[in-house]
Amino acid sequence: MKKILMTGNEAIAEGALQAGCRFYAGYPITPQNELIAYMAKHMIESGGVFIQAESELAAINMVFGASAAGARAMTSSSSPGVSLKQEGISYMAGAELPGVIVNIMRAGPGLGNIWPAQTDYFQATRGGGNGEYRTIVLAPSSVNEAYNLMQDAFDLADRYRIPVILLGDGILGQMMEPVLVHSQNPATNGKINRLPVKEWALTGCKGRKPNLAASFRLAEGKLEEHNIHLQEKYKEIRDNQQDFEGLFLDDAQVILVAYGTMSRIAKGAMNKLREKGIKAGLLRPIALWPFPVNAFTKNLGPKTKYLVIEMSYGQMVEDVRLAVNGSSPVEFLGRSGGGVPAEEEIIKEVFALNEKNI
């Protein structure tokens, strides 16, 4: 293990390579360019395939193909580019192909600008593409965590045959922090052997019946059957893969709920609130889907109130409201378009809540 100063984008790329990712296709876009550049440089050393695709559409469909062929495959982009991948992600979900899609979010709508944002939460957690599907969504809050979550992302993708989205923002992608990097390239020293066997993969039908990777189900009832199967799988994931970090949840009177970069600022605010004698806590979803509903329903009494903070005008807050279902007040603070709610704004908001006695 070595401590290296890396950008989030680089750490994600390195984490992917370590996790056995051997296919990357992407298209440049700010603020994720360091990721594609890192892959361009280092994928070849791992014996994998790097392709700068002609577009984001081509990239996601290349991932579809690479995954169907059995490779650990990924793509990355930022918001407008990820919009273009929605059809492809929906196809992967339908065909039950694993794969990792990294979205280093920037502000929108449209071209917006290149500043950080968390405004693609709905798209990621509810499937911006057509049809009824889910993707696992992981949201690291530090560069080191981003690095580590890539291993989880690929493992989960293979385990459940599902696309996994790693959702970061421009700050996470471009900032540098120390990363504890495993010894280089486990692929070449044995780790790759632990990759799961994929009997469904397209390898040529030698010695077996032909395999097929497809989302199409035309015969009457077949798609409904398939969709029921998908829903069962999603339930299994909901039951087993909720993931969050909680701080002071036991005694908190106001719980700040935030993810990714935003949660770090919330944590700072929480510390300051505690210094000022206000019992604040922090609930940071690490998996955004499945949303850590249990953290709300099981761990928490109805006395608490929640302040959800996002770099958006309110997206995750809907999941919090759905989880709490009216049993506690859920308030919201957010900015969008490049602005990031600051510690002081959060603190002010908490004081205001307390005064209004919500």
Partner: protein
């Protein structure tokens, strides 16, 4: 007596869903025959995007992959790069390859991916009900060109094979037709060649097949093959393009 013509092993013994006289059925068999002849059934991976042949994988007896409409060559690029020892082909309609998928087509060709492309030009969108394709002829009436395609508004029929032939990384392009048994036999040879090229690592090879769609040309099958012979192949001349 010996059986001298029968169903190739790579073509499953099932009925297709194609309309009577549709060229897809012939093209499927030719492809399966080429795969048999080259002994590559166990390492072929076919990519079938959306179009009338969307479920071609139900008819072929080897590994297959779906592709979203237009993205067959992106999917195939990745499969081939991940598994260079396998033989990967796409089977695409004119809407797929030359309308929504033009970008993927041009760039896979420009990268010189070592792939085999079977391109079914039937001058319409069959699957969705006979709309105008990029290859629809001038004056041809379709669901979306009810007054006939006009050069003025819709442009000329797109000769994508000729375009692709300009790219240095493209190695083989031939246009064939299914309008008679003689032409079918030529098509057979071209398809085999396009696979042989991949086996020999020669690079991007494409066979464009003029294929009747009696249904949306609104002709009986025997008239449809004549239309290919007399009209369509005048606009899209047959033979080796590169």
């Amino acid at each position: 007596m010996k059986k001298i013509f029968s169903r190739p092993e790579s073509l499953r013994d099932v009925s297709t869903h194609y309309c009577p006289g549709c060229g897809h059925g012939i093209a499927h068999r030719l492809l399966a025959q080429a795969v048999d002849d080259l002994g590559i059934r166990e390492k072929v991976i076919g990519v079938a995007p959306v179009g009338c042949a969307v479920v071609a994988y139900d008819y072929w007896n080897f590994d297959c992959c779906e592709a979203a409409h237009g993205r067959a060559l992106a999917v195939a690029t990745a499969i081939k790069r991940v598994r260079p020892a396998n033989i990967v082909f796409t089977y695409q309609g004119d809407g797929d390859l030359a309308a929504i998928g033009t970008n993927e087509t041009i760039h896979a060709a420009n990268r010189g991916e070592n792939l085999t492309v079977i391109f079914i030009n039937n001058a319409v969108y069959g699957m969705t009900g006979g709309q105008m394709a990029p290859t629809t002829l001038l004056g041809q009436k379709t669901a979306t060109s009810p007054r006939g395609r006009s050069a003025d508004k819709e442009g000329y029929p797109l000769k994508i094979s000729e375009l692709l032939a300009q790219l240095p990384a493209v190695k083989y392009i031939e246009r064939v037709s299914l309008h008679s048994p003689q032409e079918v036999l030529k098509a057979q040879k071209a398809i085999k060649q396009a696979f042989q090229n991949q086996i020999d690592n020669i690079g991007f090879s494409l066979v464009e097949i003029l294929s009747p769609c009696p249904t949306y040309w609104e002709m009986p099958p025997n008239k449809a093959v004549e239309w290919v012979r007399d009209i369509m192949s005048k606009e899209f001349p047959l033979g080796r393009i590169k």
